[in-house]
Subunit: 217 residues, 8 copies
Amino acid sequence: MANFNIDHDRENRNGFPEVVYGAEKSVGDLTKIMEHFVAKNKNVLVTKLQKKKIRALLKEYPKAEVDLEAGILILNRLKKIKGEPEVAIISAGTSDIRVVNEAYHTLKFMGVRSKTIKDVGVAGIHRLLSRVAELKEFKVLIVVAGFEGALPTAVGGLLPQPIIAVPASVGYGVSRGGKVALNSMLASCANGIVVVNIDNGYGAAMAALRILNLSVK
Amino acid sequence: MANFNIDHDRENRNGFPEVVYGAEKSVGDLTKIMEHFVAKNKNVLVTKLQKKKIRALLKEYPKAEVDLEAGILILNRLKKIKGEPEVAIISAGTSDIRVVNEAYHTLKFMGVRSKTIKDVGVAGIHRLLSRVAELKEFKVLIVVAGFEGALPTAVGGLLPQPIIAVPASVGYGVSRGGKVALNSMLASCANGIVVVNIDNGYGAAMAALRILNLSVK
Amino acid sequence: MANFNIDHDRENRNGFPEVVYGAEKSVGDLTKIMEHFVAKNKNVLVTKLQKKKIRALLKEYPKAEVDLEAGILILNRLKKIKGEPEVAIISAGTSDIRVVNEAYHTLKFMGVRSKTIKDVGVAGIHRLLSRVAELKEFKVLIVVAGFEGALPTAVGGLLPQPIIAVPASVGYGVSRGGKVALNSMLASCANGIVVVNIDNGYGAAMAALRILNLSVK
Amino acid sequence: MANFNIDHDRENRNGFPEVVYGAEKSVGDLTKIMEHFVAKNKNVLVTKLQKKKIRALLKEYPKAEVDLEAGILILNRLKKIKGEPEVAIISAGTSDIRVVNEAYHTLKFMGVRSKTIKDVGVAGIHRLLSRVAELKEFKVLIVVAGFEGALPTAVGGLLPQPIIAVPASVGYGVSRGGKVALNSMLASCANGIVVVNIDNGYGAAMAALRILNLSVK
Amino acid sequence: MANFNIDHDRENRNGFPEVVYGAEKSVGDLTKIMEHFVAKNKNVLVTKLQKKKIRALLKEYPKAEVDLEAGILILNRLKKIKGEPEVAIISAGTSDIRVVNEAYHTLKFMGVRSKTIKDVGVAGIHRLLSRVAELKEFKVLIVVAGFEGALPTAVGGLLPQPIIAVPASVGYGVSRGGKVALNSMLASCANGIVVVNIDNGYGAAMAALRILNLSVK
Amino acid sequence: MANFNIDHDRENRNGFPEVVYGAEKSVGDLTKIMEHFVAKNKNVLVTKLQKKKIRALLKEYPKAEVDLEAGILILNRLKKIKGEPEVAIISAGTSDIRVVNEAYHTLKFMGVRSKTIKDVGVAGIHRLLSRVAELKEFKVLIVVAGFEGALPTAVGGLLPQPIIAVPASVGYGVSRGGKVALNSMLASCANGIVVVNIDNGYGAAMAALRILNLSVK
Amino acid sequence: MANFNIDHDRENRNGFPEVVYGAEKSVGDLTKIMEHFVAKNKNVLVTKLQKKKIRALLKEYPKAEVDLEAGILILNRLKKIKGEPEVAIISAGTSDIRVVNEAYHTLKFMGVRSKTIKDVGVAGIHRLLSRVAELKEFKVLIVVAGFEGALPTAVGGLLPQPIIAVPASVGYGVSRGGKVALNSMLASCANGIVVVNIDNGYGAAMAALRILNLSVK
Amino acid sequence: MANFNIDHDRENRNGFPEVVYGAEKSVGDLTKIMEHFVAKNKNVLVTKLQKKKIRALLKEYPKAEVDLEAGILILNRLKKIKGEPEVAIISAGTSDIRVVNEAYHTLKFMGVRSKTIKDVGVAGIHRLLSRVAELKEFKVLIVVAGFEGALPTAVGGLLPQPIIAVPASVGYGVSRGGKVALNSMLASCANGIVVVNIDNGYGAAMAALRILNLSVK
């Protein structure tokens, strides 16, 4: 008895290829699911994979592109992305890199070019201020932050684009697990900031895609 | 000593007029703030006002447009909005009406036409299914839900646009206060749903505005 | 001094054989408890066993039937189950499989036939809609879901049977641990959904058994 | 623009008449919704009504049957219920009466006879023990409890029927709001207890109805 | 029997006059406590008073200085404060005014001059940046913020003084009650920010006093 | 149909008269319950009564002894208590008085003499230290505290008797509702401190009674 | 520099020997602390030790008495305990054994004899009822329970002695970590139950000791 | 592409060298960041390092000073600190040592001499009382406590200096993770206690530095 029934129709319905959530699936089940995609000659993106499972899957699919820290595995990607980056993925530093990269790879998989800007935390606000002009050129801003999650508020007060805030499970004590950053972003005084689940770089990328598709029309 | 220092420059900076959060301000302070706007010949939108304070402010500003349930007061609105609605504000029923209307009035204040669709809860999924074609015509979908907050997940699986989910503090027991709906939306299996604070119809409208501005470019 | 005192009378009192909760018991204590059952020539079901403890118990009882992922060990099962399945165990996909299988094995142990249906998440609602006719044939529906836990709400709006919702500890960020799915199910807008503890596939099966016993009378 | 779109088809779909949740609806909206039902010559059950709103609605519908404490209003009920009660609604005492009565009235509205048994708290366990024989005669047991919520556990160990546990928001300190009773019921050591939302007497009645419908077949 | 036993020795012990916490004391008990102070010819500061109780106490002590919003009553204050303000009390706007004023009046009661600066929220960061030079002149900075509580982080990155962050119970949804602002301040990326309880303007003032006493030595 | 079934046998079973919890019962139900006691010529203690309900009950029972702040009503008390107080009820000040008095009145009702000592908070530790000799004379110590709840820890380090800690819902911000005091007492470094529910002066008195009964034997 | 300063005076002050909390101390620090006791020819009880640290300490002190599951190490115990057990330690089954044994060993260390009774969960209430007569003989009852923590409530309704409830971190889903059992015990409808921290068998034993010392006088 | 952009200007701006938060950074990223500091001939302090990462970094920088328990690595420290200690770091015992040492090393890195005093828990209050005279000599007191976190309250009642309370994640049951100690400190009855994040010895040291800089002026 098959353990899954893939929604291959989704791409027709709302324009997005299905993506596989890997955290609680066994390597065995993941391999079977990937075979279905491969058999249909489709690209595969698997997210939230533990390092151990990535290494096991690499043995089956040695050509897969992976990011061990971000828990990402991509198979058979075809598109070349050209032009200027449309999305900026902004963060305060290297601690958030897992989440930044999950968004980055998802956008690449979806055919969207993005740029990561990792050095603009609120505790040194001049670093953000000096890049406002550059940031104005992007269509969508994804802002990743852990600890107190103040960065999207500062960005939102300075820039007019759609801003997708991603809380990161970075920090200790009250901020362990990312709930403080999440709530901080939801409670932001800045106008029209929207938020996704903690560590959900993938979801932020998909939200950006929904917005970019609109601007294409 | 003045109790405030209005950010009149914001409109230049990111394109949005400043809006006044009314919940914790006294009628006296609100009147002084509104005078500043009036003196500069600017429109005023005040949100989260208690009914008692709306009634007091109406005595000062009898021409103000108000929505007692939604806690909204608008002064001196000038723009006429034409054309087809660009935003659909979707909800499950009449219990969410406060939040739906906060989004609706904010969009109107910002010059954006929207349509409210209030009868499409997940417990009777055929009502949503029968309106998919109609919903495809909007640029942005704002989805309001209380209780278990499942509606944005269903909408997200059926439609490709940007979807802004707004949890409403509607329900009792575990769902009192709206945290369950909030978390449910953040944890949604549907792709690329973004979320704002509980009852934040205003914020959802501003997020829609950020997106619509993009599509104008 | 014996560490336990088995309630062998329970079967007379309310019709259910006693089942052993294995999570916090040592292999030594578990073996002693199992010996009591064996000595009385009774069947044994042990739940919530860590893999390591299952492997240790298998050395003692090589004929035991086990499910490593679901944490189940069954000894000496005698009944053959015939006829059509009476219970459907519905879930969104392969991530919930641990919990689905705990319910499945418990029902089998109790002499009840069930069918698992694993491909019907709310984010692709057509998959559920296409199986409504099939689902109408079951007496009881057990619905397992992690993340936002919306599936029982959709099922409850479409089908008239008793529906037992089981939240699964599947997801990350706000949904890690299963509390969001639990609260979502408790707050469901659908009528008459009942809920058991997070990951409690066993409890859902026992609740189904209480209901099925009733329909037999 | 109408604020609602009643799901009159629900009764065909899963056999239950729609019920109106009254807590966050205005008297104006409630009146409009009730008119729709009246116009179609249908019965109406409204739940979770504040006393003030019940009194206002009574002016419009002086023949309505109401329970001020339980927040219930019933219009135009036709069925006479005969025979022995099928459901027992068990509680520890008079503090839970709001919730007990919500279940009782809902069952009556649905055409099911029930009996309330209000004197059997765990702190005086002999009261429950002395009624076990009587309780065995009911098809379904609804058990309401506040404070520590231990009653369903005791009932579940003594009786074999389907048991629907309803946590009541009765108590102070840690038990204020009913969360302790809820979690206590979810964590129960007794087999196959199922649970509904805090104070959800209505939901327990609907779950009982789903079960009774099954035993009718 | 007297309901209290005032710690008149505290001033000797650690240099601070005792202050009366008024929230849960009756007007009768408060009057008796104040009489003790008056009898010893001492100043009295009462905090967290409900408006109703302030009005009742004013009848007894018509010369008392009160702040209805801040819940403060001061009796018999003698000191004149000269010189430049030593403490700046910074906030984002008029919603936090209760808390700002509690700190302000407490400092005045203790003989410390302070200045309130109420217009420098992070969502319009230029307002803060334009006042950095002015803020450098104060010995201690008290920073009050509700909602997401980001202001102390921004201040902490720009200025070297001791910074005492005070979360305010200002906001709705996730930020209602002030927990988000509190956690945000505790989790701040800025160095050496210290925090007091939600709405504790009094405590922030006392902490400033401990620091100022040190710099006097 | 009677709404209650009093456990008159309890006194035989474990030596305690039944006490009526008043918070969620209506005046009507309370009057009926009290009549049962009166008819059997028994004393009545009702706890957790709202002021409004006490005033209504006083009209029926003008001879009842009441404490409006503590929410207590006592009917027909007969025993005279002689001898030295056996229990000390210790607290930090007048804010906790509701809870202190609930314990005091319950003990008096049960025939136990107690003394209240209200001026010994940890922030002025010398006040506690100066009374250690006096406190050694009591058999049981009940210690009430709100805010951070540190008092039982200090008492527990100084004195060898049974210590029953009662958290009081006194404080604001993080300490509103009494959870901080509760957890603080549960986590105490002092040996053998036991704890009852927040505001449960009644429960502390009953626990003291269980202990005193033991020492009588 | 020594990392500790043992409170050797405690025994004089309140009659209890100091006990060492081992969870967060290193083996090195523990060895130094134990040497202090040994040098003074005193007994040592160390609690909450990880298995790994017990094994390391056993190499230093091969004569120590240990309980690996309960995390206990005892050195140099001298007293022989005679007579009938004074304390009963009651639990529902073998899952709670860690906590039961921590209480048991602590009492033994303090010179108090106790008996463990492990088979009396509420889900099979007859097991408890059949032992009421036996339980009446003990001076103090310690009741350990995980999951829903209902056992102390049942015991409290049947027996008049001091009852110390100990929540155990036994269970999964909502009951993982023991908070449900804790709150359930605090909210108990039974009179005069007192509670200690989750898993605090040691604290329950010390509380029993405080009570037994009293009855000795 | 570099993963970081160090804020080398911070020292000019507010007088503090930048410190590296190590918990979520990889060894690779940490090495690159450290190289930047080394290249500029600057000191480096890295905090919250897992032991494994400290050992890996020691291979690269064998001269680094490390504290494995406290998770600290310091490179190239130059200053010699003279004179009397200005800061006392007070704690209850050896369990808090990680946090005490993080504060100690940070102060040393910043050129401030401090003294640790580890034996003064509230459960044995005489130990604290006997050192009050000694403690009066320090300019700033850092007070670390786990469990119920009562120590800062006691210190605050006895001493007039600035007091920075640091909750430690020491304890089990309700106190696991340090939230109880944190809330206890925030809710303290003692005047003017300020608090930092759980386990944030580093932040307490930086706050002390802000205060000491002030007293230098």
